[in-house]
Symmetry: C2
DNA sequence: CTGGATCCCAATAGATACTG
DNA sequence: CAGTATCTATTGGGATCCAG
């Protein structure tokens, strides 16, 4: 197995963040969980713009190892698993928001296609409340 | 030449951001420019925790292509170049801040080693003013 | 069957040596 | 100083395989 995400001994908080989610796919998975309320391997496969199965498996494992995600059996379907964001994972919401705002300023296509830019501009409080409610529910489900 | 950062036709603002700076090095270069006020190839080589020369060259080229950075001759040293952030580059400050805050919450080492976490917590306004002053100066220098 | 992970191989990123 | 060349390691796509 590759030593993906070997930690640099940097001490810089930017580098620490990048060591955790600084690749092309990890934040897209977090996006699906945090903004899209997706929870299953299959849902991630559909949603991510063409992520490969090996990459998805690898990143989910890494996210678990880093404590951003917890895996548990689906109580409604014992053959399936659920991946929940932990508090540490939900704490990335401001990072996603900052990226979305930046893209909203500089990408002319993306706001029409997703609505997330407007949503964030017009009703950040509502969006945060919605996310916070899910976070509390996930936390209860994991306990 | 590699087709690094080939754009995904995603339409998602998160994906758009990641297409621009979603790798292990780009944001570290931006960090040096934005928070460290570094401007030269040599300064980046020293500051980045061991970035390779080809990677640095590649990323600087890509940043120029994406309009986050502009390259010009150093007026004080005609054999050297200066790399300035554009407004689009400076607009990534909130992304860096969000990452730093997250790391401040979850990395026990990084705040002692850089002081940036405390700086951000205690004097964000001062930090922003400092960055804004540099942005204005860079903009004048490029014009 | 179907969700989840692995294998194989082509494509990319990266480290080091070297150059205009 | 600011890169390119070369060579190795890692990443990622797609098929395959395994467990229930």
């Amino acid at each position: 197995m590759t030593d993906l995400f070997a930690k640099r001994p940097s001490g810089c908080p930017v580098a620490f963040g990048l060591d955790t989610f600084g690749d092309r796919w990890t934040l897209l998975i977090i996006r699906e969980m945090l903004l899209g309320a997706k929870k299953t391997y299959g849902a991630f496969l559909e949603a991510e713009e063409g992520i490969s199965t090996n990459i998805l498996a690898n990143r989910l494992k890494q996210l678990e190892a880093d404590g951003l995600v917890e895996k548990r059996r689906d109580p409604e379907n014992f053959r399936s698993f659920l991946y929940d964001l932990t508090d540490k994972g939900y704490a990335l919401a401001p990072v996603l928001f900052a990226i979305i705002r930046w893209s909203g300023q500089y990408d002319s296509r993306s706001d029409r296609l997703t609505g997330m830019v407007e949503r964030l501009a017009q009703d950040e409080a509502g969006l945060l409340a919605e996310i916070e409610a899910r976070r509390a529910r996930d936390r209860a489900a994991r306990a």
